[in-house]
């Protein structure tokens, strides 16, 4: 018995050793000070830390684009974080990235209220900083102050995203029938800009299309941290349901609301398709009731599965969602820090001299064919943001580049333009 015990222990130690050696093999020969080094072609080599908020299909695709497409061409090395879930973990990664020789940070943990702390921290380590998120009034000092290391923000054009949902409901909702709506307001109550805009647009569309008047303001409805009925003068059932699947009891609460039988439209402002579609399917069968699902989404298994599934009544299980092209978003972050690192910070500033917020527009997707077409883009060999696009966002490649020109370039990358180039 003892011999077996020792065998197990030796195996455990051996496995750990193999893993550690293997990991060491993945390393870059222990060189920890590569920032600003001269590369093979005489081009400066920079190391950029990518702060991820979650690890999913999108972040994997992003890492692929950064590591395999961008890194060799622009002589840049990338270092990725684990999933950072709070400000403390963000700060920890930034400190570690600085010690590992990073020259800049691209932050995908979009909580605008934290910008000043992170900009200050990066300034301490002489690192350039940009983040995926909007400008928060609480951080005006970062924009108006003299933070030379701050390159500004990049984010989705949230009003445009919200409008996609408003327009879809306007085009498809049959108001001659009295529908009931569950509006998943997500983290709008915590100030999440995307979920705020989508929730506001969905509620606004219901109000306009039925010509009703809510007893509360739309802002009060989506800002509530507790579920609230959107009572109104037309008696249309509207239930605003905040929170996210990670919140204990969230899915059970949604399930209970659906089981009341009052609602047949499930409108979700957060990316929750992977969490709710099974529940929707089960309740459709159990209650023999047709639910229409519309929700924010992103490329990946959850969206593909939802869009390609047929429900109990033979309809498309997911009626409408949204997608974005990761490489376009990543180009925005990359161009901001690269322009600063190469001495072209002016290209990251508004006309008034404040760091800019670059915006991209999301795309609506309403059928599996469209999803399949767009899903086949933005992968190795078919990147939406190719070298021409990236070059047009870099001041070292595009002489005299301004922030306005960069913004214009991004807006030009719409569905039709991408399709014309890639198909």
């Amino acid at each position: 018995m003892k011999k077996n015990g020792w065998l197990r222990k030796a195996a455990a130690i051996g496995m750990a050793g193999v893993l550690a050696v293997g990991a060491g093999g993945c390393s870059d020969s222990g060189d920890t000070s590569q920032g600003g080094e001269s590369g093979a072609g005489g081009q400066e080599k920079y190391k950029i830390g990518i702060l991820e908020v979650q690890l999913n299909d999108e972040s994997t695709n992003r890492a692929d684009w950064f590591n395999n497409y961008i890194a060799p061409k622009y002589n840049v090395e990338f270092m990725f974080s684990e999933a950072c879930s709070d400000l403390n973990s963000c700060m920890t990664f930034i400190e570690n990235a600085a010690d590992a020789g990073c020259d800049a940070i691209i932050n995908y943990y979009a909580v605008g209220a934290n910008t000043q702390q992170l900009v200050e921290l990066c300034a301490e380590y002489d690192m350039v900083y940009t983040e995926n998120g909007g400008r928060n009034p609480a951080n005006d000092a970062v924009y108006t102050g003299n933070y030379e290391n701050f390159a500004g923000n990049f984010m989705a054009d949230q009003p445009a995203t919200g409008k996609l949902f408003h327009d879809y409901l306007s085009e498809t909702l049959d108001t001659s029938v009295e529908h009931g709506f569950i509006v998943g307001t997500g983290n709008a109550y915590q100030g999440n800009a995307q979920q705020t805009e989508i929730s506001a647009n969905m509620l606004g569309a219901i109000e306009e299309l039925y010509g009703l008047k809510f007893d509360s303001t739309i802002e009060e409805l989506y800002s509530s941290s507790a579920p609230v009925n959107g009572t109104n003068d037309k008696g249309i059932e509207v239930y605003c349901y905040p929170g996210a699947p990670a919140t204990s009891g969230w899915l059970e609460g949604l399930n209970a609301a659906m089981q009341t039988g009052k609602y047949d439209y499930i409108l979700m402002s957060g990316n929750v398709l992977g969490n709710i579609m099974t529940t929707v399917d089960e309740l459709e069968t159990a209650m023999n009731k047709d639910f229409t699902v519309i929700g924010f989404g992103s490329f990946g298994e959850a969206l593909t599965s939802a869009m390609n599934s047929v429900d109990h009544f033979g309809n498309q299980a997911l009626s409408m969602s949204t997608v974005k092209f990761t490489s376009i978003v990543s180009t925005m972050g990359f161009s901001k820090v690269y322009n600063c690192l190469t001495g072209h910070r002016d290209a990251c500033l508004e006309a008034n001299g404040e760091p800019s917020v670059l915006l991209f527009r999301m795309n609506a997707v309403t059928n599996p064919q469209q999803l399949e077409e767009m899903g086949s883009w933005d992968k190795e060999g078919k990147w939406v943001a190719d070298y021409d696009f990236v070059d047009s966002m870099l001041a070292v490649k595009t002489e005299g580049l301004t922030n306005e020109q960069a913004q214009e370039t991004i807006y030009k990358m719409d569905y039709d333009a991408i399709k014309a180039r890639l198909n």
């Binding site: 003892k2 011999k3 015990g5 020792w6 222990k9 455990a12 130690i13 496995m15 750990a16 893993l19 550690a20 990991a23 060491g24 993945c26 390393s27 870059d28 020969s29 222990g30 060189d31 920890t32 000070s33 690890l55 270092m79 990725f80 974080s81 684990e82 879930s85 709070d86 400000l87 403390n88 700060m91 920890t92 400190e95 570690n96 990235a97 600085a98 010690d99 590992a100 909580v111 209220a113 934290n114 000043q116 702390q117 200050e120 380590y125 928060n136 609480a138 109550y189 915590q190 100030g191 800002s223 941290s225 204990s248």
Partner: protein
């Protein structure tokens, strides 16, 4: 004794196998202290070698302390609770709520001193509440932790609302210097003294080892456990203060998941979360520093973050495996 008789005795003695010798080392009373320290020293030297000395840079060393402070303080605090065999993993949420209360007090008064005092008081009161449920109301500690986690996090969401509560950045950074180091050393020194130099620590370990026996020897288990939660509360409050001054704002999610980090740090530091006679109050700090060194060192030598998660898991399992005590008779609370 002559050489021949010594040889005869040696022949008659049972021969110890290598496994027996290792078991003897593992069962040595100092092993749980020395082994984690040895691992810590080994990792430190390994990364110093692999980074060509970069790992000993001032910024790196300071970074290690900065990143270990909060978990280390919490783990030191909860050692008092774990020692008695109570596993309270709601401490992260308790810390979060204490932070929120302190930040709200700061918002109302604009005084950092008030923020510090309210956060400390919050930590103490919340832990005393947990203690009352466990010790006086006799609710199982695990159940208390589950319920407390939900209650505290719900209160945080309601109190914080949409945007995190900001605390003045410059003052926060100023407190990160002398105040933080001084208060931590004071608290840690006090814990060391109480836990290892007074009857309080002995009573806590005795209760953790065998509560019934401890009571029969005249120890007031209720009073002693209240004392343990009191000291834990001070640590939880102090960790809350460190958290607030590090981030200079408090979000509704603050402290979520911290309970697990504290448990991991404690186990990595060589202490059983089920308490008992081999408990100590510095294991958590050693564990927290070990995890930080591992994360930072691996990143500095260029290992990817996904690989780091795997390596950390393997190292954690390995340490727990080597550090754990497997009774050959009846199972005891000392098992991990």
């Amino acid at each position: 004794m002559s050489n021949s008789s010594a040889a005869a005795v040696s022949e008659r003695s049972p021969k110890l196998t290598l496994a027996d010798r290792v078991d003897m080392i593992k069962n040595n009373r100092y092993f749980p202290i020395v082994f984690p320290l040895a691992m810590l020293a080994f990792l430190l030297l390994l990364f110093v070698a692999l980074t060509g000395g970069e790992f000993m840079k001032r910024s790196v060393i300071l970074g290690i302390f900065n990143q270990s402070f909060i978990t280390g303080t919490m783990a030191t605090a909860v050692a008092f609770i774990y020692s008695t065999g109570n596993v309270d993993f709601s401490v992260g949420n308790a810390m979060g709520l204490a932070c929120v209360l302190g930040a709200l007090a700061y918002q109302a008064t604009g005084s950092m001193a008030v923020m510090v005092l309210v956060t400390l008081a919050g930590g103490v009161l919340l832990m005393m509440f947990n203690c009352t449920l466990c010790v006086t109301c006799h609710v199982k500690p695990a159940m208390v932790a589950i319920v407390a986690m939900s209650i505290y996090s719900a209160i945080c969401v309601v109190l914080v609302g949409a945007a995190p509560i900001g605390v003045e950045y410059e003052t926060s950074k100023a407190l990160e210097g002398v105040f933080r180091y001084g208060s931590f050393l004071l608290y840690f020194g006090m814990c060391l003294l109480l836990y290892h130099g007074t009857a309080i620590g002995r009573k806590l370990r005795f209760i953790g080892g065998n509560e019934r026996c401890a009571i029969q020897t005249g120890i007031n288990a209720v009073k002693t456990q209240y004392i343990s939660f009191l000291f834990a509360g001070v640590g939880v409050g102090l960790a809350g203060v460190y958290q607030t001054i590090r981030t200079a704002n408090v979000a509704s999610t603050v402290g979520t998941g911290m309970g697990t980090d504290v448990m991991l740090a404690t186990v990595l530091g060589g202490m059983s979360i089920f308490g008992g006679t081999k408990s100590n109050c510095f294991a958590g700090l050693i564990g927290a520093i070990t995890v930080t060194i591992l994360n930072k060192g691996l990143l500095m030598i260029g290992v990817s973050s996904t690989m780091i998660q795997g390596i950390r898991g393997v190292v954690f399992l390995l340490l727990v495996y080597l550090n754990s005590e497997r009774q050959k008779t009846l199972p005891s609370r000392q098992q991990f």
